[in-house]
Amino acid sequence: MCLGIPGKITSITGDLAAVDFGGVSREVSLLLCPEVREGDYVLVHVGFAIQRLEEREALETLALFKEMERGWDEEDGDR
């Protein structure tokens, strides 16, 4: 599934970033988006940042994702 989840980069070590998804932190590869910096919002797909997002727009999407989470029972292995 081509799901893309927006999150905020909290730290970067080499090719890897810690990304905060509304309170949950995950390690994300920056191999496809090497130019991003700490504090940037990125769109994440299968553990990779695939695009940098503008902050205001990312926050809007995050609000909507929260809403979706309430109704969406995640199925095993959705990506």
Binding site: G4, V46, G47, I50, L64, G77, R79
Partner: protein, 360 residues
């Protein structure tokens, strides 16, 4: 709160505006399965006039993978020296006699991964085994897989192999339109595929078929905006590729991701469920990475296999019928006991229709 109110106002004004833009019937295809699910979840179909017909397309990677390719993965899973790695949505897709999920229940080593980078760690932890990554996905996923292949090569990992069922969206759209089975006024183009490829690869839609498309995001507001942009094109008698999902999609896509994908993979002819073989619509490892190609490393015959008897998934994927028109829908074929992949994948049209009780 203020933001939600703004969205609600915008949605209300679009719902009012859309009928005013309509001039007779209008039929658009939402290419991406994630769009299909979002359209149902948000109740958009009930907000649109009945003459706006949104039909689902071939944008569910699991659904378009033909039975013969599932069989290849299941055959490999039966080997004692192999561990199969795959995304979870493939597990229950039926092959001709079994599925990866059943193979695992029978003792095969089949593991679900959430990132292609997981495959490296598993291969390293299982030096006595051959780790085979059954890779299914579109342009959204392929660059991440390509980057992982490069990493595996750089780390000298020799027991990781790729069984590629990766596919490309634009050639499938060309095949759909060339078949001339379907009359369309426009496409809602897939947002996250387009994050990678940008807008240019769709320009042939306008040039060769005089059909426009709008690259659309996944929220209710995005989809309504996408529909209204398409209606406006029709009303103004023009066809163009436009981007609604501006917050994530750039004209040129993600050049870095495209570069890595191109370095590792090359386009090859590929077979799609329902659509048959489409030229240059799949991805295979390039010569330099052939050592990691499961198709070369293992002797796995590919057999073209018919879809299960009665299953009309192939027509659903081309937008030729709606899921409830299939005689198996909701009777012999349900999400719990799926016959075809469109009922297995959570983003398959049949699963979406079933889940949201849609009968038309």
């Amino acid at each position: 709160m203020r933001k939600m109110e703004t969205d609600e106002t915008r949605i209300a004004s679009l719902v009012k505006e859309i009928p005013e833009l309509l001039d007779g019937g209008f039929r658009a295809m939402e290419v991406c399965g994630t769009h299909t699910v979002s359209i149902f979840r948000s109740g958009i179909r009930s907000l649109l006039p009945e003459s706006v017909d949104l039909i689902s397309g071939p944008g569910c990677p699991v659904c378009v993978t033909p039975v013969g390719e599932i069989d290849k993965a299941v055959n490999l899973a039966h080997r004692k020296d192999v561990v199969i790695l795959t995304f979870g949505d493939l597990m229950r897709v039926p092959g001709s006699t079994s599925s990866l999920s059943l193979a695992r229940a029978e003792g095969s080593d089949v593991r679900i991964i959430t990132s292609p980078l997981d495959t490296l760690a598993i291969a390293q932890a299982e030096p006595g085994k051959k780790a085979v990554f059954f890779a299914v996905g579109f342009e959204t996923t392929s660059p991440a897989i390509a980057a992982s292949v490069r990493e595996a090569r750089a780390k000298g990992i020799e027991n990781l192999f790729i069984l590629s069922s990766l596919r490309l969206i634009p050639p499938a759209l060309r095949a759909l339109l060339s078949s001339k089975k379907l009359a369309l006024d426009g496409f809602l183009l897939p947002g996250h595929v387009s994050v990678i490829i940008g807008a240019a690869p769709y320009s042939f839609l306008v040039r060769e078929f005089a059909i426009g498309g709008v690259i659309t995001g996944f929220e209710a507001l995005d989809i309504l905006e996408g529909v209204s942009m398409l209606l406006r094109q029709k009303k103004e008698a023009r066809a163009a590729i436009e981007i609604q999902y501006r917050r994530a999609v750039k004209e040129g896509g993600n050049p870095r991701a495209l570069g890595i994908m191109d370095e590792v993979f090359m386009p090859v002819d590929a077979s799609w469920r329902g659509l048959g073989t489409i030229p240059d619509s799949g991805l295979a490892l390039r010569e330099e990475f052939r050592g990691m190609d499961a198709a070369q490393a293992f002797d796995i015959p590919y057999e073209e296999v018919d879809d299960p008897p009665g299953c009309r998934c192939g027509e659903v994927l081309q937008g030729l019928i709606r899921p409830p028109e299939c005689p198996l829908f909701g009777t012999r074929c349900t999400p719990q006991y799926p016959v075809g992949p469109c009922m297995v994948s959570s983003e398959g049209s049949c699963a979406a229709f079933y889940r949201y009780g849609a009968l038309r």
